[in-house]
């Protein structure tokens, strides 16, 4: 790979919090808080891909939006290229936004339906650089080619593209300013199976060519595993485990990670196993009174887990986990005899 | 005997209620106080509740009402003998005190709308229970005319003073043939007969005055027997009503004369008498009468029509029309390229004014017409906010030439002729009837010559009437309900 070491911190997130106040009910003194992101710390190094996996509603998109400054955090800090993103002046913000781009999940809503492909991909240039129309047209061609689209696509509207092609457009657009970091919030979730692979390959190739870092958010473990250098597992607004990709998948410590891995359907019918289930429903983000939020679904819950919220601790090998009773042996969940 | 307030439309089908008379008017009455009112449609209803000392018959003659007879004592004093055995609807007996109270109320209280008509009365002197003397501030040849209008209605002095004005007019009491049963604003005034009416039991058990603002709806009500009389029907519907079984159209002259006031002030094009004359000559009065009014009008060159004191009949039922001459006059006046006259029109007369506009255009006069909402017309008229031409229908409830005072200097029109002023002054206090009539005739001749006002025609009241009743509209547009009978 082009980027050799991946040790220079590019983005540092410290104890980031986002609490959404919900509608106050009659006679309630304070509105209940929905802790969408509750004390997340992580670092992304230059040129690496950090994958984030978690159940729906666990706060992944919120985290992405905080980093992109689409939301104001309730607490914590985000440093990008050493500067605190949320205390910058307007012009500094414009400057950092050049290096920090995003690709969103929904290919159908992430492109303005009334703009043509060439205008879509060069919009960032319009905002940040003073180019002539001619120059912009040239760049548009380059960018489309970069993501595997042809010049005949230049004048089309988004609806004339398929989902995969739209996602390519989004990527081209994110690429326009040669950013250092692209936040990809579930960029392939909405795509057909046969297209997902195209996009994953494209992302990977672009990274090799330009050396930018990705924050890659996804639902599906296999895709994250494929593309990431390191992977973080989120549960109920917190990171419960974070490690190098191979470590995490071969030696998960947190019971949730383990459950998650076992819930992934087999890749071959021969690997079919008895269904082992993480029972229960995803957590309500409201009922966090303290204590481990996985407690309700955890097969190893101890009294301790109810009292204290486990911190994310490192075990020396850049493997972080937040569990009081981490399990080295990939212990089985109670078998559901169905 | 108060019957249930049933729908007017079904009332006439019901034999038991055949004794209900229904009249559909375009507007509601505005008040129950006859002395604080100047709206004729309101008076038209109130005359059935209250009596006056004298009243007018259908032809406009003054006849006895609560007074039996009267005579002048001197130039400023009149004596009236009163009907005995008259009771108010609340049972109080009618006496001279009531006359004194009522006439002095309207003559002294300057907040009443009729005050300016009656403030010439200095005092009313009670001679005995059935005799009064009215003293005026100066000789008043019109006193009887004044006493014949609704403003001179007699109210029960004792009861009125006991309850006060507000409460009195909540449930008013008069000596008239009908008493008020109910007034649902904007919907209906319901009168019921006053059994002890001094002239004998009234004809109708109940009289409904319904408010039906939309012309076509009023006609529809008539055609479906929803009403016995529909006032002010569109001329276009004459044939429909006549052709319909059971209804007919009744038209009779009324006191209203349509006229065009033309400014004589400097700067106005119409200050030039030639222009005014040209306008008069350009208008074919008869065409408007025939086409727009369906014949329900009479061309005239004066306000004072027959039946009024001082009428100059030579100016009545005639008009001048000569397009050629009109063009010549304009050319002579230097307007061969045409002239524009701005005219404010009471929008009630829109159609006529628009026809006139067309006629004026034929001779090269551009009438720039501004339509003014009826209700604002009066206000703007008195504030002199109207244009150089004013297209207006003017009534005359006093039946007297004195209405020409309108053309006195400093009145609402800009017409200013010292000769007219002095004639008006003389007529105002002239107790010699003949001489006074001559004075009015002279004024009319001058006005016809001067054309400070171009008279067009006297209107006729247009009523749709059910064949089941016998009704002849009156010159004064009032409904004396008791004179209306079942066929």
């Amino acid at each position: 790979m082009l980027n050799s070491d991946k040790t220079e911190p590019l983005l540092v997130v410290e104890q980031l919090q986002k609490h959404f106040p919900l509608k106050k009910k009659w006679r309630e003194k304070h509105p209940p808080l929905l802790k969408a992101v509750d004390g997340v710390s992580l670092t992304i190094y230059r040129g690496e891909t950090l994958g984030i996996v978690g159940e729906s509603g666990s706060g992944k998109s919120t985290l992405a939006k905080l980093i992109l400054r689409l939301l104001e955090p309730t607490g914590g800090k985000v440093y990008f290229q050493g500067k605190n993103l949320h205390t910058q002046t307007a012009s500094e913000q414009r400057q950092s936004s050049k290096h920090l781009q995003a690709v969103f999940q929904d290919p159908y809503s992430s492109l303005n339906p009334r703009m043509r492909a060439k205008d879509l991909v060069t919009e960032p240039l319009l905002i940040h650089e003073n180019l002539t129309n001619q120059e912009r047209a040239e760049r548009a061609v380059e960018l489309l080619e970069e993501v595997g689209l042809g010049t005949h696509h230049l004048n089309r509207y988004p609806h004339q593209f398929s989902g995969g092609q739209r996602q390519r457009l989004s990527i081209a657009r994110a690429l326009a300013l040669k950013p250092d970091l692209i936040i990809c919030d579930e960029p392939v979730s909405a795509l057909d199976v046969s297209i997902q692979a195209q996009i994953l390959n494209l992302l990977k190739k672009l990274q090799q060519d330009y050396g930018m870092a990705y924050l890659f958010i996804a639902h599906g473990l296999p895709a994250v595993k494929h593309i990431s250098d390191r992977v973080a597992i989120m549960y109920a607004g917190r990171i419960v485990e974070l490690a190098d990709q191979d470590t995490l998948f071969s030696n998960p410590k947190h019971p949730y990670t383990q459950g998650l891995l076992q819930a992934v359907p087999p890749s071959h019918p021969r690997d079919r196993k008895k269904h082992v289930l993480v029972k229960g429903e995803p957590p309500s983000m409201l009922q966090q009174k303290g204590g481990c939020s996985f407690y309700t679904r955890c097969p190893y819950g101890q009294p301790m887990c109810l009292e204290k919220t486990p911190d994310l601790i490192e075990d020396g090998t850049r493997h972080y986990h937040a569990c009081f009773y981490p399990n080295d042996s990939n212990t089985q969940y109670e078998e559901e005899t169905l | 005997g108060i019957e249930d307030p049933d729908s007017p439309s079904t009332s006439s089908d019901d034999s038991e209620e055949n004794n209900v008379l229904t009249i559909a008017n375009p507007a509601d009455i505005t008040t129950l106080d006859p002395q604080n009112n100047s709206v004729i449609t309101t008076s038209a209803v109130l005359v059935n509740i209250y009596n006056k000392l004298v009243k007018r018959d259908e032809s406009g003659e003054i006849i006895a009402d609560l007074a039996t007879d009267w005579e002048p004592i001197d130039d400023q004093t009149w004596e009236f003998n009163l009907q005995p055995d008259v009771t108010f609807q609340n049972g109080d007996a009618f006496t001279a005190e009531d006359v004194k109270f009522s006439l002095e109320r309207v003559a002294k209280d300057d907040s009443l709308q009729q005050y300016s008509t009656f403030n010439i009365i200095d005092s009313v002197e009670v001679i005995d229970d059935s005799t009064v003397r009215i003293h005026t501030n100066e000789p008043d040849p019109q006193l009887l005319s004044r006493l014949a209008i609704a403003g001179a209605s007699i109210l029960p002095a004792a009861y009125f003073e006991e309850v006060g004005s507000d409460e009195f007019f909540q449930d008013p009491v008069g000596t008239g043939p009908y008493e008020l049963n109910n007034w649902n604003r904007d919907e209906q005034v319901e009168l019921v007969k006053f059994e002890d009416y001094f002239e004998g039991e009234p004809n109708w058990d109940t009289v409904h005055f319904n408010v039906v603002p939309e012309d076509s709806t009023r006609v529809s009500e008539l055609l479906t027997d929803g009403t016995d009389i529909a006032f002010n029907i569109p001329t276009a519907d004459f044939d429909r009503i006549d052709d319909n079984d059971g209804t007919h159209v009744a038209v009779e002259p009324i006191q209203r004369v349509i006229q065009l006031w033309l400014s004589t002030e400097d700067g106005a094009a119409t200050a030039d008498p030639a222009v005014r004359e040209a306008i008069d000559l350009a208008i074919n009065n008869q065409v408007i009468i025939d086409e727009i009014l369906n014949g329900a009008g009479t061309a005239t060159r004066t306000q004072i029509s027959p039946g009024n004191f001082g009428a100059d009949e030579s100016l009545y039922d005639t008009f001048e029309y000569d397009q050629e001459r009109a063009r010549e006059l304009l050319a002579e006046a230097g307007y061969e390229d045409g002239v524009t006259v701005e005219i404010s029109v009471n929008n009630y007369y829109t159609e006529m004014a628009q026809v006139m506009e067309g006629m004026l255009a034929d001779v090269g006069i551009t009438a720039d017409i501004e339509l003014v909402e009826q209700s604002q017309f009066a206000e703007r008229l008195f504030n002199e906010e109207l244009r150089e031409g004013v297209f207006v229908g003017w009534g005359n409830d006093m039946f007297d030439g004195s209405t020409l005072e309108l053309f006195r200097e400093s009145n609402v029109t800009s017409y200013d002729n010292p000769e007219v002023d002095s004639l008006l002054d003389a007529a105002a206090t002239n107790m010699n009837e003949e001489e006074r009539a001559e004075q009015f005739k002279e004024i009319q001749q001058i006005l016809a010559e001067d054309r400070g006002v171009v008279y067009l025609f006297q209107l006729q009241g247009r009523y749709g009437v059910s064949d089941r009743i016998d009704y002849t509209p009156r010159l004064d547009e009032l409904y004396y309900v008791d004179d209306i009978t079942l066929n």
């Binding site: 159940e55 729906s56 398929s162 989902g163 995969g164 092609q165 057909d192 199976v193 046969s194 297209i195 997902q196 692979a197 195209q198 994953l200 390959n201 990977k204 639902h219 599906g220 473990l221 296999p222 895709a223 595993k225 494929h226 191979d246 998948f249 459950g259 998650l260 891995l261 076992q262 819930a263 992934v264 359907p265 087999p266 890749s267 071959h268 019918p269 021969r270 690997d271 079919r272 269904h275 082992v276 289930l277 993480v278 029972k279 429903e281 995803p282 559901e336 169905l338 | -």
Partner: protein, 336 residues
């Protein structure tokens, strides 16, 4: 694999040459499901995989008789328990629904009536398909909720759908389907909108139903992992046609159609690490403008001029049917 009428008798469901069209306005007609034949035996789980828009849902709605206006079955027969159900009256078709065949939809958010309590919606199905009294129905509804592993069933029964999580809603849907004890369950992407942990729970439930009650299941998905997990037999659909059919292990071991192979290879797997994923280039075709011949040929690495003629669905290995004239040979199939 055109069944004879005899086999129609044995099968729970057998679909022959089904062709469903939609009118696209201006007299244009789009064929959305094209010449599709397959069968489902009692107790069997048949999966249909294929890309979005390949006609999976329309196939299932055609079977249920729930096509929306504009959609029309223009050809083919559908036998249910040996009876041709297409000519049946509307009333008889309706009676088949619920008692005989039930359906679960993809979107747990919108497949429950937001205005009705959960219990009522289950009871509605009970009222239509059983002879239980009202009281019994209420009890049965709670019982069913317990059967689908809903904790605190009594309380949940009185909730409205929006008060449930996606997984619970999907379970309620299964409870509704269970209520009529259908012989055939059609599940149209029932887990696509759910998290993996919840997906596993739902799949387990469906499998249990299938095993315990011998219910035939037609399972529609585009996730090969789910197929590997639950199916007995697999149909691969592409552009409205079946391009391959085989038992699940046969298919995974010996994919014959280049599209099937492409799919299998394109999916990243937990247990393998490679630099680049294998991809199928290009996009799924628009049904209104299908390429000539084999609909897959513009994307097919093996395409030749011969592909301009539509290949037939042929049995290339025992019970393994493929619609391709260049099927993947054994040696080339290096997919482990």
């Amino acid at each position: 694999m055109n069944q004879t009428n005899d086999s129609n008798q044995e099968m729970l469901l057998s679909v022959n040459d089904l062709t469903t069209t939609f009118s696209a306005g201006k007299g244009q007609v789009v064929t959305v499901v094209n010449d599709v034949s397959f069968h489902v035996a009692p107790g069997e789980v048949v999966a249909i995989v294929g890309e979005s828009g390949s006609g999976k849902s329309i196939t299932s709605l055609s079977i249920m008789g729930l096509l929306k206006s504009g959609g029309e079955i223009s050809d083919g027969t559908i036998y249910y328990k040996g009876e041709d159900i297409l000519p049946l009256s509307k009333k008889k078709r309706r009676k088949l629904r619920g008692k005989e065949m039930a359906m679960i939809f993809q979107e747990p958010m919108s497949s429950l009536n937001p205005m009705q309590r959960v219990s009522k919606q289950i009871e509605e199905s009970l009222a239509l398909n059983t002879d239980l009294t009202r009281k019994e129905r209420q009890l049965r509804a709670i019982n069913l909720l317990q059967q689908v592993d809903i904790p605190d069933a009594e309380q949940v029964a009185s909730r409205y759908p929006h008060q449930l999580s996606g997984g619970m809603r999907q379970r309620v849907m299964i409870a509704i389907a269970l209520a009529s004890s259908p012989k055939l369950l059609i599940a149209d992407e029932p887990t696509t909108a759910l998290d993996v942990t919840i997906q596993a729970q739902i799949l387990a439930l469906i499998k249990e139903l299938n095993e315990a009650q011998e219910t035939g299941v037609l399972f529609i998905t585009h996730d090969l992992g789910v197929v590997a997990d639950i199916a007995d037999r697999v149909l691969v659909m592409y552009a409205g046609r079946i391009v391959e059919e085989a038992t699940v292990t046969e298919l995974f071991d010996h994919p014959k159609h280049p599209y099937t192979l492409g799919l299998l290879k394109a999916v990243p797997k937990l247990d393998e690490q490679k630099e680049w994923l294998d991809v199928i280039s290009g996009n799924a075709p628009d049904l209104a403008r299908l390429p000539e011949g084999c609909p897959f040929h513009p994307r097919c690495p093996k395409a030749t001029d011969a592909c301009l003629k539509l290949p037939a669905l042929e049995e290339q290995r025992p019970n393994h049917y493929v619609r391709c004239i260049h099927p993947i040979s054994e040696e080339a199939n290096n997919f482990a």
